[in-house]
């Protein structure tokens, strides 16, 4: 029979604990990280200009972290997450305007819808390799854009949807900006919490295996397509929730706002790349770096040099792909390793 049924010895158990962070350590870091993320808000909550930036940073950080689940952990670079974002935004807005249904109630069923759509459109496209998969997802985004423009009765067409300002917690419409910032913070805390959980779960490890080597994954009994679909569904559902929040914050959405790749679909991926693709903290770090910077660029140059912010972001993307593939988190980890020098965790 097989030798691995022997119960592990205590010494061995202790060793294993060193190699994989314990639950306490992982969640401890999470709590500390989220507290740190809350700090800027705590310091600046009475400045509406900064509160807006902070709120958007939290939201984009959460959306980037949602993308990171399938893009970073799973290695499937979807450029089409705008579709799920759009499902969240448009459906929430539509149901609220038409029937007055509270976004708090519709948020989750809509996320389930987005997850379902995600699985449906991913199922034929997951057999495509990296770049081809990316093109297919790009095409989905374009099709969604066209549909949003076309189906005027549902989406308001090119004119878009305007959500009336009926303030009230039940409507997820707040009169104070800082209340929105808290909402966005809860969102990013949720998504990153899911990421922490995922990274320590079987699904998370299976996603990593699929990313690293599909053949090896299969040899380990992993249903590669099934894993990808599950990761995509989770990612899409969380993205959809972000779309819901976006709609209720901006209260005006139209096809270009939702489906412009550089601002939405690709931005999620970009933030994850800069911060550290495949890491838990990376997406939020990327957002923290890029969103305020981009804001500043737009403010400075909007009239004199339109497009400068996106041009610089594009350049950053190229440079990051070439020189900083593991993002800020990766750079910090490399630094640590070099400082630690020969002090290794291996026992002789």
């Amino acid at each position: 029979m097989n030798s691995t049924n022997k119960p592990p010895r205590e010494a061995v158990k202790a060793g294993a604990h060193d190699v994989i962070p314990s639950a306490r350590s992982a969640w401890g870091k999470y709590a500390a990280g989220m507290a740190l993320a809350l700090l800027p808000f705590a310091l600046l909550f009475d400045d509406p200009h900064w509160v807006n930036i902070i709120a958007v940073t939290y939201l984009m950080g959460g959306l980037a972290a949602a993308w990171n689940i399938i893009g970073g952990f799973g290695g499937q670079f979807s450029l089409g997450h705008g579709v799920f974002f759009g499902i969240g935004a448009y459906t929430t807005a539509s149901l609220f305007i038409r029937f007055g249904w509270s976004p708090w109630l519709t948020m989750v069923p809509i996320a389930a819808l987005a997850a379902g759509v995600a699985m449906l459109i991913s199922w034929p496209t997951f057999r495509l390799r990296g770049p081809f998969f990316a093109i297919a997802t790009l095409a989905f985004n374009e099709v969604a854009f066209v549909l949003a423009n076309h189906m005027e009765s549902l989406t308001g067409g090119p004119r878009g949807l305007m959500i009336p300002f009926k303030a009230g917690i039940a409507n997820m419409i707040f009169s104070q900006r800082w209340q929105y910032a808290i909402l966005m913070f809860c969102f990013v805390a949720l998504v990153i919490g899911v990421s922490v959980w995922l990274r320590r779960s079987r699904l998370g490890y299976y996603l990593l295996a699929v990313r690293e080597d599909e053949d090896a994954a299969r040899a380990a009994g992993i249903d590669v397509l099934g894993t990808k679909l599950r990761g995509m569904a989770l990612s899409a559902g969380l993205t959809s929730i972000g779309g819901t929040l976006f709609a209720m914050y901006l209260r005006y959405i139209d096809p270009p706002t939702i489906f412009t790749l550089s601002d939405i679909g690709v931005k999620f991926a970009l933030l994850s790349l800069i911060g550290g693709i495949g890491t838990v903290a990376g997406p939020l770090l990327g957002a923290a770096l890029i969103i305020p910077f981009e804001n500043w660029l737009r403010a400075e140059f909007a009239n004199s040099l339109p497009g400068v912010s996106l041009a610089i972001l594009g350049l950053l993307m190229v440079l990051a792909a070439l020189f900083m593939k593991r993002g800020i988190v990766g750079a910090i980890e490399s630094l640590f390793k070099r400082l630690q020098g020969s002090k290794s965790k291996d026992r002789p």
Binding site: A139, G307, A311, L315, K325
Partner: protein, 296 residues
């Protein structure tokens, strides 16, 4: 019947445009095996370069080809050497890199031109050729003609010249080609240069038809992907025929269903081909693996 003929004609002429734009992408795709998201922007540069030559040097757009194409080709070689080559075994990072280039190029142009749209206007032609009841735009006819000539030229280049044969060898099997002494990196450089030059050429020829804006590349890139996949990687004639088919399908779909749904047409074609016949119409055997497996 008249209607059908008109729509067919529109489709064929549109197909000429698509074929023209896709030839360069197909070459790069098939040889270097990367998806160049920034290809549309190379077309855009071709258009702007032509406009500049037209307004400042008074050169007819069709003649600017000889200036613009080599310049854009040079840019292509720079891109290949500095951005693509370092990322040879990292397809996912290539996506970021070429998409980043797309954003960088598009928005730099936006900043430089302050968002103004340019046009070479009616200089090159509002001329119309009449064939019976059909009215054919002369500039589009020229484009179709150019696409045909370029396809023939490229075909001859690939089959008759040493450089062309090296390119085909590398397309089929990079490892074997290297073993035979072919400098693969240099072949990639030349290929990207040619592919970019073709894009620049397309830009020059399209200036009389399209209004020149920084985002004009977006008009073509998705359709070009559909064309390349439909025609089959590594096949020059595939891109040409694929362009015609996509143009015709789009024209008919636009006429009988809704013109707004063009991108849906491209996408559906793209998906159907990849699922049903990944090699495309004329693709080389094994080329379909690009979509499914990396080349060694």
């Amino acid at each position: 019947m008249d209607q059908i003929l008109t729509v067919l004609t529109v489709g064929i002429l549109l197909g000429g445009i698509y074929g023209l734009v896709s030839i360069g992408l197909n070459l790069i795709f098939g040889v270097v095996r990367i998806v160049n998201f920034a290809q549309g922007e190379l077309v855009m540069f071709g258009m702007y370069g032509t406009y500049f030559a037209y307004t400042h040097l008074h050169i007819h757009p069709y003649l600017s080809v000889f200036i613009v194409a080599p310049l854009v080709g040079l840019l292509g070689m720079v891109i290949q050497r500095l951005v693509i080559q370092p990322l040879t075994s990292e397809p996912n990072m290539q996506i970021f890199a070429t998409f980043g280039l797309l954003m960088f190029f598009q928005n730099t142009m936006l900043a430089v031109s302050r968002g103004e749209a340019y046009s070479v206007g009616s200089m090159a032609g509002t001329g119309v050729l009449e064939l019976g009841d059909l009215k054919l735009s002369s500039v589009r006819l020229v484009t179709l003609g150019a696409a045909t000539l370029i396809t023939i030229g490229l075909h001859l280049f690939l089959s008759r010249t040493m450089a062309g044969r090296a390119i085909r060898a590398v397309t089929q099997d990079k490892r074997a080609a290297r073993a035979m002494g072919i400098n693969v990196e240099r072949t990639f450089l030349i290929t990207f240069g040619i592919g970019a030059a073709l894009a620049g050429m397309a830009g020059a020829l399209l200036t009389p038809i399209y209004s020149i804006t920084p985002a004009v590349g977006g008009n073509f890139i998705l359709a070009a992907f559909a064309v390349v996949v439909l025609g089959g990687l590594g096949s020059v004639w595939g891109a040409y025929i694929g362009g015609l088919i996509v143009g015709i399908v789009e024209a008919f779909a636009g006429f009988y269903i809704d013109p707004v749904l063009r991108s849906a047409v491209w996408f559906i074609i793209f998906l159907i081909v990849l699922i049903v016949r990944p090699a495309g119409l004329l693709g080389q055997a094994g080329a379909e693996e690009v979509g499914f497996r990396e080349q060694h």
